[in-house]
C-alpha cells in the first residue's frame, strides 16, 4: 500500500521555488495544529500541581510530576465507581465480542450474497447499503425499549447486539465486494472437483479474504471502541461503563476535577491508542482507505 517512491510527476513542481516554500509552510502549519493540542494535554498532565498554570512556551513544564495520573486513577474509582482498568476491560469485552460476532456472521452472509441465489437478494442488499448512511441516533429510542423488553439493558449484550445490528452491513458490504473480486475460475474449479459450497467458502474464499477481514477488523474495532451514545444510554450502570463513557463523565461532571487530573484522564485514554496506532499505522490507514471505498 505505502509506496515511498519519489515521484517524478511533473518536473515543474520541482523546479518552482515558490511551490517548494509554500508546501513547506502549509504542511508545517498543519502538523503543528495537529500535534499541539495533544502535546499540550500531555504537558498539562505531567505538571506538578503547583506549576499547572504555567510552562515555558506553553508546553514545557517547570516541574514534572506523575501525581496527576495517580489522582486520575483514584478520582475515577471514587467518584465514578468504576476504575480505569475496569473501563478498559469493559471496552475490550464489548469491542472484541462485537467484532467477532459481526465478522463471523458477515463471512457467511456475504458468501450467500456473492455466490448463492435467494429471493429478494438485491433488495435486501440495497436496504443494507441505505442503512450504512443512517445515523445511529435514529435507532436510539426503539432500541432502548427493545433491549428493555429483552431484559438485557445494562448488560454487555445490550451494546454488543446494538453494535452488531448497526455494523453488520459494513462487514457484509466489504466482504461481498471482496468475494466477487476473486476470479470465478477458482470457485468453478472447486465445484468441478465436487466441493460443496461450504468447502468452497472455507478452503478457497476465506484464505484469500484475509486482507478484507483485516480491513473489517480495523474499521469495526475503531467504530466500537470509540462509540459513545449507545454505550452511554444502554449501559448506565457505572461498573460496566466503557472508556469513552467514563471519560465523558469525568470531563463534563458538575463537580469539577482539577485541570491536571482532567488532562491525565484524557491521556490515559489516548496513550494506548497511540501505541497501537504506532505499531499498526499502515494497517489503520490502508484499512480506513479501503473501507471508505465501499460507498
Amino acid at each position: 500500500m505505502e509506496t515511498n517512491k519519489t515521484n517524478n510527476y511533473g518536473a515543474s513542481f520541482k523546479r518552482s521555488p515558490i511551490f517548494y516554500i509554500v508546501t513547506r509552510i502549509v504542511v508545517l502549519f498543519f502538523i503543528i495544529i495537529i500535534i499541539f493540542p495533544l502535546l499540550y494535554t500531555l504537558s498539562l498532565s505531567v505538571r506538578s500541581p503547583e506549576t499547572v498554570y504555567s510552562a515555558r512556551y506553553f508546553l514545557i513544564p517547570y516541574e514534572f510530576s506523575f501525581a496527576n495520573y495517580i489522582d486520575a486513577f483514584v478520582n475515577a474509582e471514587q467518584k465514578l465507581k468504576v476504575s480505569f482498568p475496569r473501563m478498559f476491560l469493559n471496552s475490550a469485552v464489548v469491542t472484541s465480542l462485537s467484532v467477532t460476532l459481526i465478522i463471523s456472521m458477515s463471512i457467511f452472509a456475504a458468501f450467500a450474497f456473492s455466490h448463492l441465489r435467494f429471493p429478494l437478494k438485491e433488495s435486501l442488499y440495497n436496504v443494507m447499503i441505505a442503512s450504512v448512511a443512517m445515523p445511529a441516533q435514529v435507532l436510539l429510542i426503539p432500541l432502548f425499549y427493545i433491549l428493555i423488553y429483552l431484559g438485557i439493558i445494562n448488560t454487555y449484550q445490550a451494546v454488543i447486539l446494538a453494535y452488531a445490528g448497526f455494523l453488520i452491513p459494513i462487514g457484509i458490504l466489504i466482504l461481498r465486494m471482496f468475494y466477487e473480486q476473486i476470479p470465478y475460475e477458482l470457485t468453478e474449479a472447486g465445484t468441478v472437483d465436487g466441493a460443496s459450497d461450504f468447502q468452497l467458502l472455507m478452503r478457497v474464499l476465506l484464505p484469500l479474504a484475509k486482507p478484507a477481514i483485516a480491513t473489517c477488523v480495523i474499521l469495526l474495532f475503531l467504530d466500537t471502541w470509540n462509540e459513545f451514545i449507545y454505550a452511554m444510554i444502554f449501559m448506565q450502570d457505572p461498573t460496566i461503563h466503557t472508556v469513552p463513557v467514563g471519560l465523558a463523565k469525568i470531563g463534563t461532571s458538575r463537580y469539577q476535577v482539577n485541570i491536571g487530573t482532567y488532562s491525565a484522564s484524557v491521556m490515559i485514554t489516548i496513550i494506548p491508542v497511540m501505541i497501537i496506532f504506532a505499531v499498526f499505522q499502515r494497517w489503520f490507514i490502508a484499512g480506513m482507505t479501503m473501507g471508505a471505498l465501499k460507498h
Binding site: N4, V26, P37, L116, R117, M128, I146
Partner: protein, 292 residues
C-alpha cells in the same frame, strides 16, 4: 453463482446476520418512524397507548431551538462537506507533489486524530478553548470561546475538521497515487507551471475522489453528537444544539423534558434528511450517466 436455483441451505448462511440486522436495525428504524406519532415517556411500558397524531411535529415546529438545531446541523454538514474536503484536497496535493522526505510520517501525524474517540478529542479541545485555556494565553485574550453564540458552532466545526481531515487526506492520497500521470507529463512538455497543473489537471482528475470525500463527510456530518456533547452539551442555552443532541436532550437527558415521542419525531426528521439526500444522489448520478 455456484447454483442455478435457490437452495434452502442458503438460509443457513444468511439467517444469523439477517436476523440480527432486522431485529436491531430495520425494525427499530421503522418503529422509530411510527413512534413519532405517539406520546410517551421513558418509564412507560405500553408505548403505543397514547396516539397524538402530528402533535410531536407541531411541538418541534413551534420550538425555536429545533430550528436552531436544524440550522446548526446543516452548518456542520456544510463545514464538513466543503471546508474540510477543500482543505484536505489542497493539503494532499501539497504533500504528494511537494517531495517531502518524510511524507509517510507527515500523513500518519495528520491521520492520527481519526483513530481517537471523539470524546477524547472534544475534551482535549475543551480545555484549550476555556476562558483560562491556552488559546487565550497565546492570543493574549480573555474570551470565553465556547459561550459565544455566534462562534460556538464554528468552533465545533473546527474541532471536527481537526479530527477528520486526515481521513479525507489519505483518501485523496490514494486517488493521487492511482492518478493517470500521462497528462502531467504532457503538460510538462507544453511548459505548464505548477498552479496551472493543479487547477487544470490535478483537481479535475481528482473529481471522483472529491465526490467520495464529500459523501463520506455528509454522512458523518449528520452523525455528529459526541463532540457537541462533550464540548458544549448544546450550550450556551441550546445555541450549539444539532439534531442528534436535540433528540438526546428531549428523550434521555437528565433534567430534560423526557418526551420520547418528540425525540422520535426528531429522528424522523433526520431520517427524512438522509433519505432525501440519498434519493437526490441516485437521481443525479443517473442523470450524469445519461449525459455521459
Amino acid at each position: 453463482m455456484i447454483y442455478k436455483t435457490f437452495h434452502f441451505r442458503t438460509l443457513l448462511y444468511l439467517l444469523p446476520a439477517v436476523f440480527i440486522f432486522l431485529t436491531f436495525n430495520v425494525i427499530p428504524g421503522l418503529t422509530s418512524l411510527v413512534l413519532s406519532f405517539f406520546d410517551f415517556t421513558g418509564f412507560e411500558t405500553n408505548l403505543f397507548r397514547n396516539f397524538v397524531g402530528i402533535d410531536n411535529f407541531i411541538k418541534i415546529y413551534e420550538d425555536k431551538y429545533f430550528w436552531i438545531a436544524l440550522k446548526n446541523t446543516f452548518l456542520f454538514v456544510f463545514g464538513a462537506v466543503f471546508i474540510q474536503t477543500g482543505i484536505a484536497l489542497i493539503l494532499s496535493i501539497f504533500i504528494f507533489f511537494g517531495n517531502f522526505k518524510f511524507s509517510v510520517l507527515v500523513r500518519s501525524i495528520i491521520f492520527f486524530p481519526c483513530v481517537l474517540a471523539p470524546v477524547s478529542v472534544g475534551l482535549v479541545w475543551k480545555k484549550i478553548l476555556e476562558q483560562d485555556g491556552v488559546l487565550n494565553s497565546i492570543l493574549g485574550l480573555d474570551y470565553s470561546w465556547l459561550s459565544s453564540v455566534s462562534l460556538v458552532m464554528w468552533l465545533i466545526i473546527m474541532v471536527n475538521t481537526w479530527q477528520w481531515i486526515g481521513y479525507n487526506l489519505v483518501i485523496y492520497y490514494a486517488g493521487l497515487q492511482s492518478m493517470n500521470i500521462e497528462l502531467l507529463e504532457a503538460s510538462d512538455i507544453d511548459g505548464a507551471n505548477w498552479s496551472q497543473k493543479i487547477f487544470s489537471i490535478v483537481i479535475p482528475l481528482l473529481w471522483p475522489t472529491t465526490i467520495l470525500n464529500m459523501i463520506l463527510n455528509l454522512i458523518g456530518g449528520f452523525r455528529a453528537f459526541d463532540i457537541v456533547y462533550v464540548l458544549t452539551r448544546g450550550g450556551p442555552a441550546h445555541y450549539s444544539e444539532v439534531l442528534a443532541s436535540y433528540l438526546y436532550y428531549y428523550s434521555f437527558s437528565a433534567g430534560g423534558p423526557n418526551k420520547m415521542g418528540v425525540g422520535a419525531s426528531v429522528a424522523f426528521v433526520i431520517f427524512a434528511c438522509i433519505l432525501t439526500i440519498a434519493v437526490a444522489r441516485i437521481i443525479v448520478s443517473k442523470k450524469l450517466r445519461k449525459e455521459a
